[in-house]
């Protein structure tokens, strides 16, 4: 997902018998679906895990502007250009709400950005893949935003108030993003043979990485179990992935595209699609920095931050000058 393999820092799920009275009271409130708010007491591990999860999500929004920015200057019509600019702008906005949500947990945005640039925290693996043709902009909306929504709709009900509320607004915008992505795919699939080929090529490249966005099966994961207990993760990775596959396969059929999985078939008994094995070694490689674009994405972000340093300093210096002048005028 936009946040993948979020580490709770715990070796096992906290046993209720070992909880302090404060922890027990906290868990009872979470169990009763009472939202946790910034000033409420919370276990350190809950706070740390949320910071990790929210900042991964925030960084993903910001880094995610780059693969789309790669085509914004080459959008094929003025209408598509306007829609893509609006979408990218939304993503910047999502990044901001999420950084703000993280800041309610006592961290600063600048520190989080430093962590990203130092390679200490990740962003979603999906943004380490390149956008090679215009249909990729459609595929990102349709598949990547589609996968993100699967995870984020449940998170609107998560236990941490600021995160849940940020998610409500984000989901509204994401569902528009997904529709515009599908609309691009539809135009391409109804277009010339070359356009249809671009759409197929795009699905071929984005299908498996999109499924990997949900993360490896986590039924056995201590971190997932603990995060579910805390209600900052609501469904398992495989459940979310299955929902996504079931939703997306008929859409691919409608587009007349072939999902690049020879093992894909409808399982009447389960009432779900079966898929072939996912190559998790590719996922691990991308997380380790060996995706096609890891180096470029991080370099671009760092460069933008470094190039902007004098601008940020000037803005601060000017604000100080104004404050001093106002103070002098008042004296």
């Amino acid at each position: 997902m936009y946040a993948q393999l979020v580490d709770t820092g715990l070796k096992k799920v906290v046993d209720p018998a070992e909880m302090t009275p404060e922890e027990r009271a906290f868990q009872a409130r979470v169990d009763a679906d009472v939202k946790v708010e910034p000033k409420d007491w919370m276990p350190d591990a809950y706070r740390r895990t949320l910071v990790r999860q929210i900042q991964q999500h925030a960084h993903s929004e910001i880094v995610g502007m780059l693969p789309e920015g790669n085509w914004v200057t080459r959008a094929p019509t003025l209408k598509r250009k306007a829609i893509l600019m609006a979408k990218i702008q939304d993503e910047g906005g999502h990044g901001l709400y999420l950084y703000s949500a993280a800041e309610t947990l006592g961290v600063s945005r600048d520190d989080l950005i430093d962590d990203l640039h130092a390679g200490k925290v990740k962003y979603s693996s999906i943004f380490n893949y390149p956008t090679l043709n215009w249909a990729d902009i459609g595929a990102i909306g349709w598949l990547v935003d589609g996968a993100a929504i699967m995870n984020q709709i449940p998170l609107c009900r998560c236990s941490y108030g600021p995160y849940a509320r940020a998610m409500v607004r984000i989901c509204k915008e994401e569902s528009f993003h997904q529709r515009q992505g599908f609309d691009i795919m539809l135009s391409m699939c109804r277009g010339t043979p070359e356009q249809k080929a671009m759409a197929q090529d795009s699905l071929d490249r984005w299908w498996w990485p999109s499924l990997m966005m949900f993360g490896p099966p986590d039924a056995e994961s201590v971190h997932s179990a603990q995060s579910m207990r805390w209600k900052i993760k609501l469904l398992s990775n495989d459940e979310l992935r299955q929902r996504f596959v079931d939703q997306t396969v008929p859409q691919a059929e409608f587009l007349g595209l072939t999902v690049p999985d020879p093992a894909l078939r409808w399982n009447e008994e389960r009432g779900h699609h079966d898929i072939g094995p996912i190559d998790w070694s590719e996922f691990q490689d991308v997380l380790r920095g060996h995706g096609p674009c890891n180096r470029d994405r991080l370099r671009t972000r760092k460069q933008a931050w470094e190039d902007g340093e004098w601008v940020r300093e000037a803005a601060m210096a000017h604000a100080r000058k104004r404050a001093e002048r106002a103070a002098r005028a008042a004296a």
Partner: protein, 251 residues
């Protein structure tokens, strides 16, 4: 006013908006801070919207069946009528903001003057655009002041940016026969009459920014007549790639 002149007149507004929007979209994901990334994209988005309105209108006036996309994506550089100022490369943040500032002040004055245009459609587009551009002016002016009166480094960069772009600002205020025809018909602004309020507004902001107004007022002209700098061809190569590579496709 002849339709050919009216077409030219509309292209000038549409093309300047389009080319500047294209420049701003090059910043996506690379701004100095996320808020600025969003704001730059927002201004760019306004300008794309304005370009669509002007170019659609131009296509209808021309009467040869060209829509906004045919005009945006299938004309060569010499057929573009944007001001030279807006095609200048982004450079650093000071250059981008100085370019925006010099253009925005002129843009707002021109749009305001056209709110009372005798061409109802021009008046409507101008009125809608002026609301957006009023915000652009505020924003770019704030940045010129902030960077001019910020640190030594930012001051120097803003002064360099204004010095470097000044010669491209002049043509905005120098009318030719098309502008004169539009003004006489009560459709377009009297550009010469914008010179004094433009100088006043720009001068006041530069003074607050502690930036010196360049002494040399020589103006490079030609953009609005189709004679561009070398930069425009590259910008169009990128903007028009898909429409050129796959002619006739619907996107």
């Amino acid at each position: 006013m002849k339709d050919t002149d009216r077409f030219e007149f509309l292209l000038r507004f549409g093309d300047s908006a389009l080319v500047l929007a294209q420049r701003l979209s090059e910043w996506v994901g690379k701004g100095p801070i996320v808020e600025e990334d969003i704001a730059l994209t927002n201004v760019g988005l306004d300008l794309v919207g304005q370009a669509r309105m002007w170019l659609s209108c131009a296509g209808e006036v021309e009467g040869r069946g060209r829509d906004e996309d045919a005009l945006a994506f299938r004309r060569d550089a010499h057929e573009f009528r944007n001001a030279l100022l807006v095609e200048q490369p982004n450079g650093g943040y000071a250059d981008t903001m100085a370019r925006q500032f010099l253009f925005d002040h002129w843009h707002l004055l021109a749009l305001k003057a056209m709110e009372g245009s005798r061409d109802e459609r021009v008046a409507a587009i101008a009125a809608k655009s002026a609301k957006e551009v009023a915000y652009h002016v505020e924003r770019s002016t704030d940045w010129v002041i902030r960077l001019g009166d910020g640190t030594d480094v930012s001051h120097e960069r803003m002064q360099d940016a204004i010095d470097g772009l000044w010669m491209f600002a002049g043509e905005l205020l120098l009318p030719d026969a098309v502008d004169d025809a539009a003004a006489r018909a009560g459709i377009g602004p009297d550009l010469a009459a914008l010179a004094s309020p433009w100088r006043e507004a720009v001068g006041a902001a530069l003074a607050e920014a502690t930036i010196a107004v360049p002494a040399d007022d020589w103006a490079q002209r030609g953009g609005r007549q189709g004679r561009h700098t070398e930069h425009l061809g590259h910008l169009l190569a990128e903007l028009q790639f898909l429409q050129r590579a796959y002619p006739g496709a619907q996107w």
